[in-house]
């Protein structure tokens, strides 16, 4: 019986979980683990420059691949630096496992050097967390952590490991058994409910499908597409639902909500039946709740029973995994259709086609200034479906969502629930590690990128050819837009007009910078960047006054949209 240290055991367990990468940063209370990493052959440790980015990278890796991402940090400040990243993953239900070092078990509770109660701090932003007090619990804890993170409604799990536990010896062959008597996610939907739903859907004259991140995470995009085409029901999505249904399809209404398309919001207002799948009816989509979809009944399919009925009244709740439920729904719907023929939907589809023609997402073209919509359309034209798009937060994110038509799941990666500036670039690092053969872009704002520009080092050192599409407007644009529209143009602290030369900045890290000020140079610059096998930042000097439209004012019903050129000036 040979004994190994807790640290070695940890790596052994991670290997057994199929972990390829750990995004992390060392420190005093994880030195034993890093000592074990020194000899590690299989798992690669990626040194980031700030722990927040380790968590975002793990999150980006998870979104791009569907596998659980792993990040690591030392006790105290290492752990607290992870927090934004963990909260971000929690809000968007992304499976990551965060491992932190902790002071030794004997010192816990004494405010010893670099002690922080990280399980206490992260308890509201993790799906579950563990403080491992005895090395014999370590194997089972790691196994449970991965199981919990990746099953049911996914989410982050944190494992806090005191340094003496990292050093303690344990039998190499200790069996790890999952023992979670209270954890049994419902995967299969209730068949009676599904049958009832199929009939209701068939009989509805103006149904819409509202698809969210749950469809992407359960891998249900094929089933969703099949169901929508079979039943001929238009599909609109949340931000995280982008990629769950091809946006170039005639049934696609693209994204709904605050900056959604006008046709999606009109459809949500006029519909008689919403089939919500893997969505949580978040306020960014519903607008003023009391006015939301007044004429509609709601069928809500979600793996998390707590989401059903939380924000909106639901007629038929179906708890289950989206992929599983959709397969059953397709079967049941087909039975009805085969008996009665296609449901009469043409009138509704025609109305929607008209809306799509009348209210396209657009920008002014009769000007020389560089418009972000133009840049993203060009990007889409060049890379089509073959890229992964990560975004920062703000106007850049909304332009990306509006103008980049996604066709495949896991190709649009954005911070939805938490809206974290500085998420995009580190997540693109994770995505690029997870998908080495894909082109990975970070669509960024000049504010957001400066929160994480130190990670240029991580990208260059690891030879990641990520392309940053910097939509540089010199403003904290999205906040400025609100100030312009709702605060009398009192631009408090948002006209940054920075001194930063972004081309030089990226060059300082060994990357490549390209500056573009004219429309004519956009295409050439993007193509040039794609051919460079290194980190490239294209500094697009866009129209500093461009705003995101359409827009639903905060607290307004989604039927009341401000559109391009009609806003209050």
């Amino acid at each position: 019986m040979s004994k190994i240290s807790g640290s070695k055991m940890l790596l052994k367990c991670l290997r057994e979980e199929g972990v390829e990468y750990i995004f992390g940063y060392p420190g005093g209370k994880v030195i034993p683990i890093y000592d074990a990493i020194y000899d590690e052959k299989k798992i690669k440790h990626i040194l980031v420059r700030h722990e927040q980015c380790a968590a975002h990278a793990a999150d980006g890796y998870a979104r791009a691949t569907g596998r659980t991402g792993v990040c690591m940090a030392t006790s105290g400040p290492g752990g607290t630096n992870l927090i934004t990243g963990i909260a971000n993953a929690y809000m968007d239900s992304i499976p990551i496992v965060a491992i932190t070092g902790q002071v030794s078990t004997g010192e816990i509770g004494t405010d010893s050097f670099q002690e922080a109660d990280i399980t206490g701090i992260t308890s509201p932003i993790t799906k579950h967390n563990y403080l491992v007090k005895n090395v014999r619990d370590l194997p089972a804890t790691v196994k449970e952590a991965f199981y919990i993170a990746s099953t049911g409604r996914p989410g982050p799990v944190l494992i806090d490991i005191p340094i003496d536990v990292q050093n303690a010896l344990i039998d190499e062959n200790t069996k790890a058994e999952i023992n979670l008597p209270g954890y049994k996610p419902t995967i299969k939907g209730h068949l009676k409910q599904i049958k009832e739903a199929a009939l209701k859907i068939y009989n509805s004259s103006r149904p819409v499908i509202f698809s969210g991140g749950g469809v992407v995470s359960s891998g249900a995009h094929k089933e969703l597409t099949e169901f929508a085409r079979l039943s001929r029901i238009p599909v609109l999505t949340s931000l995280l639902g982008k990629g769950s249904f091809p946006e170039n399809d005639e049934l696609s209404l693209m994204m709904a909500g605050m900056h959604g398309t006008k046709f999606a919001n009109l459809a949500l207002t006029e519909t008689t039946l919403i089939i919500g799948i893997g969505v949580r009816f978040d306020d960014r989509v519903t607008g003023k709740l009391s006015e939301f979809a007044k004429n509609a009944e709601i069928i809500h399919i979600d793996i998390d029973p707590a989401e059903i009925g939380k924000n909106v009244k639901v007629k038929i709740p179906i708890v289950g995994d989206a992929k599983n439920v959709l397969s059953d729904l397709i079967k049941e719907y087909r039975i009805i259709r085969d008996e009665k023929g296609d449901a009469p939907r043409q009138e509704w589809i025609d109305i929607i086609r008209k809306w799509k023609e009348d209210y396209p997402v657009s920008y002014f073209t009769d000007t020389d200034s560089l418009k972000p919509g133009y840049i993203i359309e060009k990007l889409h034209e060049i890379v089509k479906d073959n890229a992964i798009i990560c975004t920062e937060v703000g106007q850049n994110q909304m332009w990306a969502a509006q103008f980049f038509k996604c066709s495949r799941p896991r190709t649009f990666i954005s911070s939805g629930g938490l809206g974290t500036m500085g998420y995009g670039f580190p997540s693109s690092i994770g995505a690029q590690f997870g998908c080495p053969d894909k082109l990975v872009f970070d669509i960024a704002g000049d504010g957001s990128i400066q929160m994480v520009s130190h990670e240029f080092a991580t990208a260059v050192v690891n030879k990641l050819p990520i392309k940053i599409i910097l939509l540089n407007n010199g403003n904290l644009g999205m906040v400025k837009q609100w100030q312009e529209l709702f605060y009398n143009k009192r631009y408090s602290e948002t006209l940054v007009r920075d001194c930063v030369d972004f081309v030089k900045l990226v060059e300082a890290y060994g990357g490549v910078g390209i500056r573009v000020k004219k429309k004519e140079d956009v295409e050439k610059a993007i193509k040039e960047a794609i051919n460079i096998k290194n980190l490239v930042l294209i500094d697009f000097h866009i129209d500093p006054d461009e705003n995101v439209f359409p827009m639903v004012a905060p607290g307004a019903p989604i039927s009341e949209m401000m559109v391009l050129g009609k806003e209050k000036k």
Binding site: S123, H128, I148, G182, D304, P305, A306, G309
Partner: protein
């Protein structure tokens, strides 16, 4: 309205903190809380009384279910369960009132658990209203200390 929920949890450290934190984070007030082990040493039972409307109580039970260490949740209806609280009341007997206090205690079937020169301590179990009534009657004599447990409750009959 008061709701009684009984939550079976894994008997592990930190579980109670997670439950309490969940209540405060989601904006629910706990009226009373009682925790104890069960016949299975790996399982603790937490009885929580919450004041809230029907839809909030549904949301809070669903959120509780999401905690990994929560094994089972039961909503206990007052008419289909037995509820008990335990109280220890120390009353002033300096005004020659001991006999009267003992009489009140007798009526309520309270036990005398400590007597000193100027004080008497009574122990009473019962449901909330009985305990409140008892408290009201003793108030005029001067309550020196009043300790009340959270409510525990158990469903009636075979239904579990």
């Amino acid at each position: 309205m008061n709701h009684i929920i009984s939550v079976m949890v894994e008997n592990k450290s930190g579980v109670l903190a997670k439950i309490a934190a969940l209540f405060s984070r989601r904006g629910f007030n706990i009226e009373s809380l009682a925790v104890g082990t069960t016949d299975d040493e790996k399982v603790s039972r937490i009885t929580i009384v919450v004041n809230s409307d029907e839809s909030s109580i549904e949301q809070i039970t669903k959120q509780l279910h999401k905690l990994i260490n929560v094994i089972k949740i039961q909503k206990l209806l007052p008419e289909h369960s037995v509820q008990r609280e335990l109280v220890l009341i120390k009353v002033n007997t300096e005004n020659k009132s001991r006999a009267e206090i003992l009489e009140i205690g007798n009526i309520f079937r309270a036990n005398v658990v400590d007597v000193t020169k100027g004080t008497i301590m009574l122990e009473l179990t019962g449901n909330s209203s009985k305990i409140s009534a008892f408290e009201e009657l003793l108030k005029p004599y001067g309550i020196l200390e009043f300790v009340r447990t959270g409510m525990i409750a158990c469903s009636r009959g075979k239904k579990y």
